[in-house]
Amino acid sequence: MGYPHKSHPRETPVLSKHFGDPEARTLDGWKARGGYKALAQALHMEPTAIVDIVKASGLRGRGGAGFPTGLKWSFMKIGDGKEHYLCCNADESEPGTFKDREIMRWTPHALIEGCAVGAYAIGAETAYIYIRGEFTEPINVMEKALAEARAAGIIGKNAMGSGKNIDIWVHKGAGAYICGEETALMNSLEGKRGNPRIKPPFPAVSGLFGKPTTINNVETLAAVPHILNNGAEWYKAMSLSSPKSSGSKLFSVCGNVAKPGNYEVVMGFSFKEFLYDLCGGPLPGRKFKALIPGGSSVPTITIEEAEAIKMDYEGFVEQGTMLGSGGVIIFDDAQSMPRQLARIARFYAHESCAQCTQCREGTAWMTKILERIVAGQGTYEDLDTIFELSESMTGKTICVLSDSCGAPVVSGINKFRGEFEALIKGRRSSTVAVGAR
């Protein structure tokens, strides 16, 4: 559903079917829409049987990395005598991404059900939903839904009369992009500074409070009940890209576009048709110029490259970028790429946890150089420095924040070098249309 727009006939609303419908927020309303059937069924299955179904469905992490969910769950050794934890990553902070916010504020019970199934499948009795601190409304909606589910005996001790215990709690963040990184999220939950941890040990071995832990994105967990209800084959079959990428995916579309919003399409959908048909194309009198299609951490592509993309994990990679979180940022011909990329670099400089030198210094330095170029005071050597910097910022730090700063910037310079050179030469770029900001 193209929330806030009406659903487009070419969308496949699975997760977004009830966006905009306040009744779906309540427990009764959710049950009337088929809610909690999957959990009732799951609680009477062997946890490994649930993991097998999720594995067979081909569901991959929707937070950005695309790791197979069933495989991740299978790393949790049931019956090892240790406490297990599930963390739901609802720290949605990746620029361009606003899908989890809609899942939480319209269909909170979908996430609760997904968390409960996930917790049971990995042998956890406690799940924490870590929601970014700015999301007051989603937090309030989730808290209310959790209270309803707890009062109805759906979660808590003896969940749904199954004899199993599943507690789910909301944990509110306090403003730090980096806490969306799974190990930083766990540190934050433990009451520490949100610095990412060195891996290994991986969370499935030593995670939250030093115990085996699985971290899943909101959208991933919300998809699980649908898979249990309809079967792994159904989930695979709806995709045009089966078996590598299966199911449907929410794409958040923003920037210079006629109809920004969330759209849910099957994997393998044509990106060209998606952009021009579903999203309404560019604003009147404008042309699309560039995109960052997976949240701001992925490489920048030109509109020509975008038009060739098949929307699945592999399809984006083939055109030199990534599906990421599905946050599609669109720049039209009135935008200055140097200015936009300088702003993106500033984001990462602000959000660096400052643990690793390459990131702390690199993001700040890159921002300084880009802002100098935008101010008309750059040199050709500056561009070379950015490339060198990016190289020393990639693959050399504890987490990938540093890599994420270099990816859109370096690809952006490579593809729109003329705009940078024009600023360096001291005149406006001819590729920026009249009226550009």
Partner: protein, 181 residues
């Protein structure tokens, strides 16, 4: 993920703020202490209640002073220095008093495309805040830029205290301010 107010707000004055005796939040028999204990029971380690405890202090006192850090540390078995380390990591905790209406304008890329910098200018102009991070002379407003609020399809989102206002344009700013209580 705000670019927090870096200096003590003008209207309150840094020195003045330190002379006001701190009133503890988690006093014996208080609702906040009960709430904190309830939250502690959700975790195997009570330090996990640190972020929630800090939120409670900020809701009660408007900001988190060094005295508050000591109080929270005492409740959760950690030093005031440890608490300060955590407070300073997260941008949403105020380390100084701020205006009654704390206004955060998202200016990250998608919002920049939609003209967020003009929204910032409009807020500064209509609130009387001289610059980002400073509080207006009447103590009512503090305006800052914030990194991605996660509502990019509704550019430009602005967070005022706890609530989002979506699709803000410079023209809407006077009306939004007039509607604040």
């Amino acid at each position: 993920m705000s670019h927090g107010p870096s200096a003590p707000a003008q209207a309150h004055g840094g020195a003045h703020a330190h002379h006001v005796p701190y009133v503890p939040v988690f006093t014996d028999g208080s609702a906040r202490l009960k709430e904190l204990k309830d939250i502690i029971s959700r975790y195997p380690d009570k330090r996990a209640a640190l972020l929630p405890a800090l939120w409670m202090v900020q809701q009660e006192r408007g900001w988190i002073s060094e005295d508050a850090m000591r109080e929270v540390g005492d409740q959760l078995g950690c030093t005031a220095a440890y608490v300060k380390g955590v407070v300073t990591f997260y941008t949403m905790y105020h380390q100084h008093p701020v205006g009654k209406h704390f206004i955060q304008v998202c200016t990250t890329s998608p919002c920049l495309c939609a003209g967020a910098d003009d929204v910032v200018k409009a807020f500064l102009e209509h609130t009387g805040c001289k610059e980002l991070g400073l509080t207006s002379p009447d103590g009512k407003y503090t305006v800052i830029e914030v990194e991605c609020l996660g509502a990019c399809g509704f550019a430009t989102p602005v967070q005022i205290n706890e609530d989002y206002v979506e699709s803000v344009t410079p023209e809407k700013v006077p009306g939004i301010l007039a509607g604040l209580k």
